[in-house]
Amino acid sequence: MSGTLAASGLSVRYETPHGSVHALRHVDIEAHPGEVIGIVGESGCGKSTLVTALANLLPANARIDGAIRYNGVDLAKLDAHRQRLLRGDEIALVGQDPMTAFNPVLTIGDQLVDFQHHRKDLSRTLKRARIAAMLARVGIADAERRMRSYPHELSGGMRQRVAIAAALLTDPGLLIADEPTTALDVTMEAQIIHLLRELRREYNGIVIVVSHHLGVIAELCDRVYVMYAGEVVEGGEVDAIFHDPRHPYTQALLACDPARFHDRLDRLPTIPGSLPSLIQPPPGCVYAPRCGKAFAPCKTIAPPLVKLTACHAARCYVATP
């Protein structure tokens, strides 16, 4: 089963002793089956909050406004029991740290059997056969022997492959990969990117890739949402985002990536200033305090989402179609 995912007007705030932290504000995102969606932004931009909201794993002090519709059902309004049924069946998560994704005292095989707990129709033998096939699918040689290994016996890259296999074993309609290559070396990173790209040919659900690494996003995704200080500031097809960015923050972020320059730069470009407080977000555009193109209304009135093309939009006064 797979369906469309749409978050509309999604806001999340955390109640803390110092006040409410507005971690996510009026976020609209949409994903269709078969698409790979990228969410990119720097630390503090709210990408982790967005992902945890989608997976319904927000902590108790979080308050959600708006709707997350998946397959016509509003996830934010489900009771705990039905949320629990959805996770691990429809929604699967591949985390950043492949070391902590597994229980250290159980073998890989036993844990992957448990991952399929919702498949009541399969016997344990059938489940183990599925695991062996899936491990081979994600590029683990000698799958039978690996099923008897403990997590610490695998390297980081191999554990990440197993984590991807575990997620796929549940036949999810929505697969969320949160910084899937951040903990890996560059040669392993290339291999995991390659694997994810291969898998999407047969997988027809939604994949959401969250990363701060522009290279990973460019290599993997069809559409990209750029986040800054809790808002989606720009969204569009990957080519438009990388070759025709319209929001000043997207432009600045791309300009900062040293991987885009081949000749030696004497000074690396940076974004001056710092993130605004999320307890009292600025009344106008969140990026206005650091933006070179800001003018009077930017500081006082939040800009609307300007539709530039059919699927390219930026939250900026300066952007025009």
């Binding site: 720097e42 191999m158 290339a190 390659h194 290279g215 080519d239 990536d257 885009r260 690396l268 940076t270």
Partner: protein
Amino acid sequence: MSPLLAVEDLSVSFGRSSLLDRLINPFPLPGFNVVDDVTLSLMPAETLGLVGESGSGKTTLARTILGLVRAAAGRIVFEGREVATPSDFRAMRRRSAMMFQDPVASLSPRLRVSTLLTEPQVIQGLPMQDRRAAAKALLALVGLPASFVDRFPHELSGGQARRVGVARALAMKPRLLLADEPTAGLDVSVQGDVLNLIGELKRELGFATMIVTHNLAMIRHVSDRLAIMYLGRLVETGPTQEVFSAPLHPYTATLIRSEPIPDPRRRSHNLAITGEIPSVFRRPSGCEFHTRCPLVQSRCKTEAPIYRPMGAGRLVRCHFPLQTGGREREAVSRASANPRGN
């Protein structure tokens, strides 16, 4: 001009058992070299990038140079004098500094910034009129407000903690700065900030820098020379621009090709490298890269290549180095067009 720092045939061995161990355990594990036979030099005011994957021994090499890890063999020469005894290292550490990997963890959580910044002088017994004033001067050097002297490390952001780390490293006006992953964990917009700061201070104060990193995109812009490590050995050294434009060792070529490109129009469809970095416990025979090398030949499996000069200022450890012409490098991409990343 003589080099500021010269490392000759340096090896570091872990897991070597002591006499007591051997008495208790009759079958001790053999020691293994995490850094093996490294020869390297650094000129005054030069920036060297030490690049490798995790487990390649790059951090251990940096720590050994400062005497934080004991070398099993080899020589370290700093400012023309050999550094061997603990007191030599102490004297050397007065003229050199290290920035550790984790910026927040390398600052003691219970000390204020003023104390942290002036600790090096106190430890080295340098006279200081006013600790707070000295700390404020150092903060000004790295572009932080003087009010930060009363802050604790947890009150700093990642970028600010890095700047405090830079200030502390420069407190003794070192001739040599060893920076271990100076940008790990920083956002791309802040990473440039820290590197620009180190670059500016370097021009102003004229120290030499060794940057240990796995971030190729960054090191390309900030280093004069590169040294690439694989399994504790250097496989290639050379001027940064030349190494990037025409790598000699297939490992260097695959590292450069593995880096994801932030351009969806230039997606790499072939995998540059497969397999994983072998363990130092079981070093492959012959050339250690042969298990993953796209251009492996039978000689590579049995005979270890020597580290030999090739062209001006370049060294490579390979029987069949890639030439500067385009043909061989095309061969790397074709040979590595393996559809499955295992």
